[in-house]
């Protein structure tokens, strides 16, 4: 596989100073979590890494070649994106939605094969939404839609997963099963790169963390080195209390009456 790499990458957010360039490689088997406060550019970074937005500086590479040198179709065979917002202007069933994940793998003249149908259905089963396969997507709950979106990328079978808040709208059980599924994908040699809001999910499931600070600063590395209370308090401007459960740190925001650190 061709690992996704940021090379001296500066994302383009109009009216914002450039800040620190990002330079990292998402190796096979790794699960990355991006943490940062609202509006810091997590989604923009994800779209830039997917080649959907041009960076201000630097480059995104897939293997040895820059994303701009790859054909869009070849990128989509290697890179799957789960978006935060979805457009369902037209009615489509759950199965049809999962089937569009097979689009990168089919030539213009090909119909979806029985094999594609099987992969789509298996993806729906893995996300626990197969029983909804004939329902229209716009009639589903937020959490069900989220799982259908993840199933679409599972059917796409990319090497690298880019996910924007994959646990949005999910109940506790499905948060764990979705993150478990992503971890299993990584164990099979894929790589996962996701924006998260929940510190504790990141601490539990990510082996690498990228912190995006509001002042444009950024740092990244293995989770244990990144998830230290001082850095996280600076990240969110919020005092935290830390406990350790089962060998992993757990962060709880301190009450609002507590004096702010920073």
């Amino acid at each position: 596989m061709n690992p996704l790499q940021a090379r001296q990458l500066v994302i383009d957010i109009p009216g914002r100073t450039s800040g620190q360039p990002l330079d990292f490689t998402v190796e096979p088997g790794q699960v990355w979590g991006v943490l940062g406060p609202n509006g810091v550019g997590k989604t923009t970074l994800l779209h830039t890494l997917a080649g959907l937005r041009a960076p201000r500086n630097g480059a995104v590479q897939l293997g040895e070649r820059s994303l701009t040198d790859w054909k869009r179709r070849r990128i989509s065979q290697q890179l799957g994106v789960v978006f935060q917002d979805r457009q369902d202007g037209f009615p489509a069933t759950v199965l049809e939605t999962a089937l569009i994940g097979r689009h990168p793998w089919l030539s213009p003249w090909q119909m979806e094969t029985v094999e594609d149908q099987r992969m789509a259905l298996e993806a729906l089963q893995a996300l626990d939404v197969a029983h909804l396969q004939n329902r229209l997507v716009n009639t589903l709950s937020g959490g069900e839609r989220q799982r259908v979106a993840i199933a679409t990328v599972l059917a796409q079978a990319p090497d690298t997963w880019l996910l924007d808040e994959p646990t949005n709208h999910l109940d506790l059980h499905h948060q764990v099963s979705v993150l478990g599924l992503l971890k299993a994908q990584a164990a099979q040699g894929c790589s996962v790169f996701m924006c998260l809001h929940d510190l504790n999910l990141a601490a539990r499931w990510c082996d690498h963390i990228l912190l995006l600070f509001p002042d444009g600063d950024a740092c990244w590395g293995p989770s244990q080195q990144m998830l230290v209370p001082a850095a996280l308090e600076r990240l969110y401007g919020q005092k935290l209390m830390t406990a350790e459960i089962d060998g992993a740190p757990v962060f709880v925001p301190a009450g609002s009456s507590d004096p702010q650190s920073s």
Binding site: I75, F83, Q87, F90, T93, G101, P104, W109
Partner: protein, 324 residues
């Protein structure tokens, strides 16, 4: 599995189209019984019946079919392009441009081919105007395109009123008929039919990309679709189809809106099925509307656009009312 499920609805629509055409050619100022009509179509019947049906009525029926099919396919394409089920070539100002072109030609006192050519030019001019203005500095969004189209259409509307006010009274009836949509008996249906068939073939390789594009341009890019080139292809194709339809039948509204919407309710939203189905159902609808237009106040004829608008306006309002 998919291929088979496409076949049945298309066969039903082909049969419906054939039936509507037979009905259309047998009804008129001198009615021909259905069985006699069929025998004429298969080479029998009297000489008078043959002339009546094959030379006079059949070309008109084909013109109506081609016009309806082209407009419905153009509408369906525009709706995918703008990710908005309310889009339609008429809403986007294409027909307004065509109308201004046609009326200017009529005001200059010319007729026939020049009017058609001028309408075609007007439709294409409107296309480039709307796309160019909506494109602007680069941020091209469906809502901006739709708004630009609506405003340009309003501009064309003002020009149409101006032309009507300045034209000599004796030219007004012809102009009004053109504006209301009138299938001219003299039009040659062949280019329209060929274009319709070509588009239905082209839809097959493009269809799945269109399905993905309907999910939004970001999602489509992420799934490997070259969004911008595809959007240009759709827009140019839809404009060409509309312009061709407009030159055959004047300004017939709402077919592009009503037909795709009805079909989506029944058949879902796979463009590989919806677009050929639109060609067939749109053609059928206009053939029936034209038949109705010929008999409602016989021996006078109504412009067919009146019938389609009477069907289309309530549908449009219903859609608006229902949309969140």
């Amino acid at each position: 599995m998919h291929g088979y499920s496409f076949l049945r609805p298309l066969i039903v629509l082909v049969l419906a189209a054939a039936l509507s055409m037979v009905i259309s050619v047998s009804i008129g100022s001198s009615a021909v019984a259905l069985n006699e009509t069929l025998s004429v179509l298969f080479g029998g019947g009297t000489e008078l019946q043959q002339t009546l049906i094959l030379d006079l009525r059949l070309p008109r029926t084909f013109t109506a079919f081609a016009t309806g099919g082209l407009l419905a396919v153009a509408g369906a394409l525009m709706q995918v392009l703008l990710r908005n089920p309310l889009a339609d070539p008429y809403v986007l100002g294409l027909s307004g441009g065509a109308a201004v072109g046609a009326l200017l030609a009529m005001m200059a006192g010319v007729a026939g081919v020049v009017v058609s050519g001028s309408a075609f030019a007007g439709a294409l001019l409107s296309t480039f105007l709307v796309f160019g203005l909506a494109h602007g500095t680069g941020s091209w969004t469906p809502s901006r395109l739709l708004l630009t189209g609506v405003v340009v259409a309003a501009g064309w509307g003002a020009l149409i009123a101006l032309i009507l006010a300045m034209s000599p009274a004796r030219q007004l009836p012809g102009m009004l008929y053109w504006l209301m949509g009138d299938i001219s008996p003299a039009a040659n249906p062949l280019p329209g039919l060929i274009l319709l068939a070509l588009v239905c073939l082209l839809v097959f390789p493009l269809g799945r990309s269109l399905n993905v594009l309907a999910r939004g341009s970001m999602q489509a890019s992420a799934l490997g679709v070259s969004v911008r080139p595809l959007e240009w292809v759709i827009y140019i194709l839809a404009s060409l189809l509309t312009a061709t339809a407009v030159t055959m039948a004047g300004s017939v509204g709402f077919v592009g809106l009503v037909v795709p919407h009805m079909l989506r309710l029944v058949l879902g939203n796979d463009q590989r099925l919806i677009l050929p189905a639109c060609a067939l159902a749109g053609g059928t609808l206009l053939v029936l509307a034209d038949t109705l237009a010929r008999i409602v106040i016989a021996p006078e004829q109504l412009p067919v656009g009146v019938i389609t608008a009477l069907l289309g306006v309530p549908t449009f309002l219903y859609l608006l009312h229902r949309s969140r």
